[in-house]
C-alpha cells in the first residue's frame, strides 16, 4: 500500500496552479511551432515550464538539472553575455556607420523603457507595494525589445519576475509585426510614409572603421557606465571577431554553435523560473500588460521623434524610420520597408531602417546599462 501511495505522490500533489502552468507551457510550445513566434526561445521556455510545474519534479530543486543550469548561467549572468557574443558576431554595423544620424532614433525609441518603468512604478498608487523601483525598472526594460538585456537586468532587479519578464520580452518581439504597423500608421500621414530616403548617402565605410567601431564603443560606454562593460563588451567582442577578417572560424562558431547552444540552455532554464506560485499572480498580468505598452511607447516615441526632427530639416526623413529604433532586429526594419512599399512600390527605405534598427540594439544596451548604473547601488 505504501509503495502504491508513493507512485501516486505526483497525482496527489497536482494542484490547479500546476495544471494552469502546464497548459501555459503547452500554449508557448504551440505558439512556437504553429505560429512560429520566436520558436528558438518560446519552445524551450514552454518545455522548461512544463518540467518545472510537474508536482515533485526532480528537474528542479537543489540537485535538479534546471536549477544547476540556472545557478550556472543565469544567476551569474553568463548565458545572456554569451548570447551577446553570438549576436555581435551576427550584426553588420555598416548601415549604421553609413548613416550615423540613425543613432538618435535608437536613442529616442528607448523612451518606451522609461515610460513603462514609470507606469509600473505608478501602479503603486493603485496597489501600494506592488513593485519596487528596481522591479519597475526591470519591467520597463521589456521595452528594450532585447531578450538578453531583459534577462540581465531582470535577474539583478526582479529575479522573482524573471519568467514573466522574459516571456513578455520574447513574445512581444515575435508580435512586432502586429504591434508596430497600427501605431506607425496612426502617427503618420500617407505623404509622410511616402517620403523617399537616400540608400546610403554615398558614404563608404572602410575596414579600419569597422574594426575600430566595436573597440571605441566598448571603451567609451565602459568609461561612461562601467557596469555596461559585460553587456556592450560582449556584443562588441562578437562584432570584432566578425569584422577583423582573421577569425572567420571563431566568428562562424559564435554565430552558429555558440548562439544555438546557449539559446537552447537559456530558454529551458528561463522556463524553469515559471513556478506556479510566482507566475500565477496579478503581478504577472500587470507585467505582461505593461510590457505590451512598452513596445507601443517605443514605436510611438521613435516615430514622433523623427517627425520632430523633420521640423528642422530641409530634406525630410521618412518618420517610419523612427519606429525602427528598437532592438527587434531585423523584423522592425522589414516591417517599415513593407509599409513604405505599400504606399509606393518603388520606395526603398530598408537601409536607413536597418541603420536605425541596429542603433536600437546599441541604444537598448546603453539604456539597460544606465538603469543598472542609476539603481544598481543600494535603494530598492
Amino acid at each position: 500500500m505504501d509503495k502504491l501511495s508513493k507512485l501516486l505522490e505526483g497525482i496527489n500533489g497536482l494542484t490547479w496552479q500546476n495544471v494552469v502552468m502546464l497548459a501555459i507551457g503547452c500554449v508557448l510550445i504551440y505558439l512556437a511551432i504553429k505560429k512560429e513566434y520566436e520558436p528558438l526561445l518560446l519552445l524551450p521556455i514552454g518545455f522548461g515550464a512544463i518540467m518545472t510545474n510537474i508536482p515533485l519534479s526532480s528537474a528542479v530543486g537543489e540537485h535538479g538539472f534546471l536549477t544547476v543550469l540556472y545557478n550556472a548561467g543565469i544567476v551569474n549572468e553568463l548565458f545572456p553575455i554569451l548570447i551577446f557574443i553570438a549576436v555581435g558576431a551576427m550584426i553588420d554595423f555598416s548601415p549604421l556607420l553609413k548613416q550615423p544620424v540613425t543613432l538618435f532614433f535608437g536613442a529616442a525609441a528607448q523612451f518606451g523603457i522609461f515610460a513603462s518603468m514609470l507606469l509600473a512604478a505608478a501602479a503603486n498608487l493603485i496597489w501600494p507595494g506592488v513593485f519596487s523601483l528596481k522591479e519597475a525598472a526591470a519591467i520597463g526594460i521589456i521595452g528594450a525589445a532585447d531578450g538578453p538585456t531583459s534577462i540581465f537586468v531582470g535577474n539583478l532587479f526582479a529575479p522573482k519576475y524573471m519568467g514573466a519578464i522574459t516571456v513578455a520580452a520574447y513574445s512581444y518581439m515575435a508580435l512586432v509585426p502586429m504591434i508596430q504597423p497600427p501605431v506607425i500608421k496612426a502617427l503618420t500621414t500617407r505623404e509622410e510614409r511616402m517620403i523617399r530616403m537616400d540608400v546610403d548617402y554615398g558614404v563608404k565605410v572602410s575596414k579600419p572603421v569597422l574594426i575600430l567601431f566595436p573597440i571605441v564603443v566598448t571603451i567609451v560606454a565602459g568609461i561612461v557606465a562601467p557596469i555596461s562593460v559585460p553587456l556592450i563588451g560582449s556584443l562588441m567582442f562578437g562584432n570584432l571577431i566578425r569584422e577583423c577578417g582573421v577569425l572567420d572560424r571563431l566568428s562562424q562558431t559564435a554565430q552558429n554553435e555558440l548562439g544555438n547552444l546557449v539559446t537552447l540552455l537559456l530558454g529551458i532554464t528561463i522556463g524553469s523560473t515559471m513556478v506556479a506560485e510566482q507566475f500565477l499572480t496579478l503581478n504577472t498580468l500587470l507585467i505582461l500588460s505593461i510590457g505590451l505598452l512598452a513596445f507601443v511607447f517605443d514605436t510611438a516615441f521613435g516615430v514622433l521623434f523623427a517627425k520632430f526632427v523633420n521640423l528642422f530639416l530641409k530634406r525630410k526623413i521618412n518618420p517610419m524610420i523612427g519606429g525602427c529604433g528598437i532592438s527587434a532586429f531585423p523584423m522592425s526594419a522589414r516591417i517599415v520597408q513593407k509599409m513604405a512599399q505599400k504606399e509606393d512600390p518603388t520606395n526603398f527605405v530598408l537601409m536607413p531602417a536597418i541603420g536605425a534598427n541596429v542603433a536600437g540594439q546599441i541604444g537598448s544596451i546603453v539604456a539597460g546599462a544606465i538603469i543598472l548604473a542609476l539603481l544598481g547601488q543600494g535603494g530598492n
Binding site: L97, F104, Q110, M117, A122, V203, P208, I370
Partner: protein, 39 residues
C-alpha cells in the same frame, strides 16, 4: 508617491544619458569616417 518621483528622476537622467552616449558615438563615427576614408 515617492517611488513615482524616483521613477521620474531615473527617467529624466536615463533618457538624457542614452542621448548623450549615442551622441558621443555619433561624433566618434563621423571622426573615424573622416580619419579612415574608404578608397
Amino acid at each position: 508617491m515617492e517611488i513615482v518621483f524616483g521613477a521620474l528622476e531615473v527617467m529624466g537622467i536615463g533618457v538624457a544619458g542614452v542621448f548623450l552616449v549615442l551622441a558621443i558615438f555619433f561624433i566618434l563615427i563621423k571622426l573615424m569616417i573622416k580619419l579612415f576614408p574608404a578608397d
